[in-house]
Symmetry: C2
């Protein structure tokens, strides 16, 4: 159906293991998808050397880099030729369909808003992230862009998350839920109660509240929350999964007999580990922008980069930005103008 290649810009110098992990991930993604072209953004020596060896890679020189510890918004304003700013500009100008970086998250959020720009009517762009569950993966948003939210923000996150689940995850009718601390509409904080009422009135596929214990079971396809709660939940899931699997591994190496038994179980447990691995699920989109901007974990390895490009290409081909834009039409509040 798609004859024009999908063009994704990639920050060659973003993340703890750049550029090696990024280049390896891009190589794998290009091999897996013949309709993909990558615009590799970074220093001349890195990007053009790579492009010379890969027919569907192009080098885009960006001489500056934003470090992982820099203040995001200030760095974006100061470093116009950094790879993150150049990548977001490629998306704004239509030269790339999407941009991925595993670099400074705050800088990606700032450049997404300041350079790529918000879709009309978007109050607050939100970071969505796919989470592994015992069923199919679900998308949770916001996981950190907005620590303080109002009910209308949450309702808009719901619409954007629903459009993303449809486009990027192929779920025709996503079940959308509000993260809360009880099942009933009247439970929870004032924010949650107000958001519940608004979502019940305006969000297609709204199934009500889910609680913390429901996140890992796939009880919903889209889980909406404020960026504070979402970030705590996301990092808790990462930390607890790592800790529990580490403890299982320790138990399995606690004696010579255990080690032999563990060797027998390794294939089954490796399958489990892969299923739980967020690296398989793509990067976190910053939803609500005029283009697709995807934020990777700082520790992204080659597999995480490759899956970000796989999911990103799928989202582009399914017109995720147009779908998010269309989803907003139904909720644009009369009294609310986009915030600066």
């Amino acid at each position: 159906m798609q004859h024009r290649p999908t063009r994704i810009a990639v920050d060659a110098v973003g993340g703890d293991f750049a550029p090696e992990a990024v280049l390896e991930g891009v190589t794998a993604a290009l091999a897996a998808d013949v309709d993909l072209t990558v615009l590799l953004v970074g220093p001349d020596s890195v990007v053009n050397a790579f492009a010379a060896q890969h027919p569907r890679a192009e080098g885009v020189v960006a001489d500056d880099t934003i470090g992982m510890q820099e203040h995001g918004a200030s760095a974006v304003r100061a470093k116009k030729e950094s790879s993150i700013v150049v990548g977001c500009r490629l998306v704004r100008d239509g030269e790339a369909d999407a941009f991925f970086s595993a670099g400074n998250t705050g800088a990606m959020m700032a450049a997404g808003v300041l350079v790529t720009g918000r879709l009309p009517g978007v109050m607050r762009p939100a970071i969505g992230t796919a989470l592994p569950t015992t069923g199919d993966p679900c998308v949770m948003l916001d996981v950190g862009a907005n620590a303080d939210c109002r009910a209308e923000h949450l309702a808009q996150f719901a619409h954007m998350g629903r459009a993303y689940a449809q486009a990027a995850m192929g779920i025709a009718e996503p079940r959308v839920a509000l993260l809360n601390i009880g099942e009933e509409a009247t439970k929870g904080s004032l924010l949650a109660q107000e958001a519940h009422a608004l979502m019940a009135a305006t969000v297609p596929g709204f199934i009500g509240n889910v609680e913390g214990r429901d996140i890992p079971t796939g009880a919903a396809d889209v889980i909406v929350t404020d960026g504070f709660t979402g970030n705590v939940a996301l990092k808790l899931m990462e930390g607890l999964s790592k800790s529990l699997l580490g403890q299982v591994r320790d138990a399995m190496t606690s004696s010579a007999a255990a080690k032999v038994a563990a060797a027998v179980l390794r294939p089954a447990l490796e399958g489990l580990k892969e299923r739980l691995d967020p690296d398989e699920l793509g990067a976190a989109p910053l939803l609500g922008l005029k283009g697709l901007v995807m934020i990777g974990h700082g520790s992204s390895g080659p597999r995480a980069v490759a899956s970000a490009l796989r999911v990103g290409a799928q989202a582009v081909r399914q017109d995720v930005v147009a779908r998010v834009a269309a989803s907003l039409a139904v909720v644009e509040p009369a009294s609310e103008t986009p915030e600066a």
Copy 2:
């Protein structure tokens, strides 16, 4: 040192598996602690039959019961002779040193405040809960009593949680942290930023922010958060632990060879499961009251009941209520009166 027996009132009819699980747990607790006396609260037929067979058990007849699904505050107001109201009254009147129920959580919170009563200066009682970590258990509060909090509430939770960690968990100098979404003082929601500043100025042992990923690693002894975030985090930990261990078990029974290997590993994995089991860590105290009121999980089995009594007796002997009261003296804000 302690020659007067420790007297703990127990709701015989609270929880999904009452009265059997409760009676079995009480029997185990009495056997393990010769200085413990239990005041068993519930229907005559249950409590006096038990007391007749156990020298250090006394029956206290309460003819009414608050169901698990009833609205907490309304039920407490309507049912003055329910086991939950009677138990909280025993604590108020000094006839019991503590009260434990695995029944309706909302009713326990309401009866704790309305019947047992708040300590002077307490703005909001908070539910604390001990969490398993890869190190020693930590206590997190609030995990659900207060969905909406102000910074001064969080600072007071910190003082109460610190006193509880000292008395019930035997930690001389607890490390107290704020749950937040970044390490720096300026990160997070407006609430978290304000709470950080207040805690840094007033809370002994304050070590700054911890993030979601730090909860399972024992990075702090006391983790302070609002009741919305805390409840989401607690239930997420319960749900994810259950889900992950279930998936490990599934992997281990995925083939005949795996089953044989799993049998070898069972002892080591059982040890892990026990260490992760919240049933080992006692019940959740409602901190800030004039007595010790402990809320058990609705699904409490005999082991959970017994460990609630073990930890509760330890807390009573270490004068937890007096310590919480003393901890409040340093922060009582001039402009704040207890809320109705």
